[in-house]
């Protein structure tokens, strides 16, 4: 299975090279549509921060203390006063050491591999009702506060473009970034593939009161 995947990747590369020789790629600007992006336009939208080294982090800084103030105002209503999560909104704190457990708890502290990613996400997507409205300083402060809630940085930590990339997240080294699939060895047996006596129903959805109705108006079933 591995070899067939590799083969198809090679084949893909081959086809691309071949296409390149038959129909050479158009020169840049061949169509001439659109306008050149100005430095000011790029600066306004170029918000991404790279997770593993913090490339793209802007000037500014924030303390844990300032972060606690911004958090109380902007975040606590959904994420809970101490990051415990209200309703079904994400919990931000806890769970360290549980990733191999039967019921792991995935939070910023237990799961996220890179601290600059936290800055990037708060900056681009939070607070949910008014995303990308916080100042860089406030985003730094919130990042510092959430890391501090997780005991990853001390109370006196100041988050900025130099300090954040140096924070080592507890789960940093637990990711593999290449896909090991296919990781199952199913074979297409056609007959007498198992002993019928071994076929047992191990679980059924029957009788579990989890499924919303699939006819009539939308179901409004409440959280279990």
């Amino acid at each position: 299975m591995f070899s067939s995947r590799k083969y198809s990747l090679l084949l893909c590369a081959g086809v691309m090279v071949a296409a390149g020789t038959i129909a050479p790629a158009a020169e840049p600007g061949y169509y001439g549509y659109g306008d050149k992006a100005t430095p000011a336009q790029i600066a306004g939208w170029d918000i991404d921060v790279r997770g593993d080294d913090g490339a793209g982090l802007p000037p500014g800084k924030g303390t844990v203390h300032r972060g606690s103030e911004v958090y109380a105002e902007q975040c606590a209503v959904c994420h809970g006063t101490f990051g415990e999560g209200e309703s079904r909104f994400p919990k931000l704190v806890g769970g360290q050491g549980t990733l191999g457990d039967d019921r792991p708890e995935l939070t910023v502290g237990s799961y996220w591999p890179f601290a600059p990613t936290l800055w990037d996400y708060i900056n681009r997507a939070m607070p949910m009702a008014a995303p990308h409205t916080l100042s860089a300083d406030d985003v730094y402060a919130l990042t510092a506060y959430i890391l501090n809630l997780n005991d990853i940085v001390p109370n006196e930590f100041v988050a900025d473009r130099d300090s954040l990339p140096k924070v080592k997240m507890p789960n940093r080294d637990s990711f593999i970034w290449t896909d090991p699939r296919p990781d199952t060895m199913a074979r297409p047996c056609m007959s007498a593939c198992a002993d019928p006596a071994d076929i047992k129903i191990t679980s059924t959805a029957e009788g579990k009161d989890l499924t919303p109705r699939t006819t009539g108006p939308l179901d409004t079933m409440q959280p279990k």
Binding site: M1, R5, S8, C12, M16, A25, A26, E27, P28, Y30, Y33, G34, D35, A37, I42, W45, D48, R50, C78, F89, G100, P104, L106, Y111, W112, P113, F114, T117, R124, A125, S174, F175, I176, W177, D179, R181, D183, T184, M185, A186, P188, S191, C193, A194, P196, I199, I201, T202, S203, T204, A205, E206, K208, L210, T211, T214, T215, G216, T220, P223
Partner: protein
């Protein structure tokens, strides 16, 4: 024009004179009865319902119908009002960062109607003004560009049929059978004909610098949703699309512009696409570190698991569409693979002991839904129906037991296991998992 203005036309009003008002009222009652019976599962045969089957002539055969442009856009028949996307209210904190499921049990082809295409939003559905929407392409490129929608539509266009599947489709079933429903177990897949411009065309136009290895794609929604993609995938088969099944994208699918990454998990097909930046390394955004990564039993995680492996499901019968009585049926289903075409689908009625290959229906397209059918005479005995897809790479769809053996039950995403439907002697159908 008022809808009933035509009645004042001399000929029509004369025609409508005596018979039509009564027929019209009857028709309305019938409509209500039909809708009610479908919605509430009540038995038909209301005493007031006029006879419509032979030998009687139906009321709609003895009246004049609504004229053209009565519904200028058009909509499904009233009796189909229950065929809608549905959500699981208890699953998420709100509906803005949530998902809805396509009603696969009521669909009949490989194309998902635009109003029924499943939804996954990370910050709700934005209302984007197409005149003010812009796509910026920059980073490691020779000539960074800002494109309007008019600019984008002017580029050479292509149309392709591809599915999009959320990798969390079936994610609630890793530990045990939970949702007794085709819609809620498999409805985070849909398939459409997409029209737009090849991403490679746009990247050639800006000129890719030789150091570039990755692209970062970003949406204009409140989440500024972003993902990293290897440049070779961007240049291979990705599309920047503005149309879906022949009309402009629906807002729920990214109007006016989205990325389409064929065969890969749906969240990389960024909706409301506003920016593409090329770089030399991936970005490790929140959506590719804290989410859309797969936690293994030993506590390690897999990232960048983009591929949708081969998968299939029987869409009839299913919990929503049980069997009436013993007799001959056509088992129907859908199969797909992110790795190319579906080569074969096998069907078992005994929980995987014996299999028979189903008929694949044309068109069998790469990275698209493929229909399969198999005639089946149900003898009224208990049955365990399963389907198993094999794609053109030779990959065989696994059982949930095989997946658990490899990945445990906490990896949330990429559950492409064989679905088992338990058929009971009364014809009812339940979602079960087998040993």
């Amino acid at each position: 024009m008022r809808p009933d203005l035509w009645r004042s036309m001399p000929v029509v009003s004369k025609l409508a004179g005596t018979r039509n008002p009564l027929a019209r009222r009857s028709f309305l009652r019938l409509g209500a009865a039909l809708t009610g019976s479908l919605a509430l599962g009540a038995r038909p045969g209301n005493a007031e319902t006029p006879q419509a089957s032979p030998p009687s002539d139906a009321p709609w055969s003895q009246s004049i119908g609504a004229g053209v442009v009565d519904r200028p856009y058009g909509r499904p028949a009233d009796a189909e009002a229950g065929v809608i996307r549905r959500n699981v209210p208890w699953l998420t904190a709100g509906t803005e960062s949530s998902v809805s499921f396509s009603p696969l049990q009521d669909l009949h082809g490989i194309i998902t109607p635009n109003g029924l295409f499943f939804e996954r939003h990370h910050a709700g559905r934005p209302n984007v003004d197409p005149d003010r929407h812009r796509l910026m392409i920059h980073g490691l490129v020779e000539r960074p560009l800002v494109l309007t929608m008019k600019d984008i539509v002017r580029f050479p266009s292509v149309s392709r049929i591809h599915f999009i599947e959320c990798p969390a489709n079936g994610g609630m079933e890793w530990r045990a059978a939970q949702m007794n429903s085709l819609q809620f177990n498999h409805g985070m897949i849909s398939c459409a004909e997409w029209t737009g411009v090849r991403l490679s065309t746009l990247l050639e136009e800006v000129g890719v610098k030789k150091e570039a290895q990755w692209g970062m794609v970003e949406g204009a929604d409140g989440a500024h949703m972003n993902r990293s993609l290897p440049l070779n995938k961007c240049l291979d088969d990705c599309l920047v699309v503005y149309a879906q099944n022949g009309e402009a994208l629906r807002p729920e699918q990214g109007y006016p512009l989205r990325l389409l990454v064929p065969g890969w998990e749906g969240n990389v097909s960024i909706k409301w696409l506003r920016r593409i930046k090329l770089g030399d390394r991936p970005w490790y955004s929140r959506e590719e570190t804290s989410k859309y990564t797969d936690l293994m039993p030993d506590g390690t995680s897999r990232g960048f698991t983009w591929l949708i492996d081969a998968k299939s499901v029987i869409t009839f019968p299913c919990p929503e569409k049980p069997l009436d009585r013993p007799g001959l049926y056509e088992i129907r289903g859908l199969a797909w693979s992110g790795n190319g075409k579906v080569r074969r689908v096998d069907v078992s009625a005994d929980g995987g002991v014996n299999w028979q290959s189903a008929r694949l229906h044309e068109p069998v397209l790469s990275k698209a839904l493929t229909r399969f059918t198999l005639p089946w005479r149900w003898d009224g005995q208990p049955a365990l129906l399963e389907s198993r897809a094999i794609d053109e790479t030779g990959y065989v769809q696994p059982t949930i037991t095989q997946l658990r053996a490899s990945r445990g039950s906490n990896s949330v995403y990429h559950n492409n296991s064989i679905q088992t439907w338990q058929v009971k002697p009364d014809g009812s159908v339940f979602h079960v998992q087998l040993s």
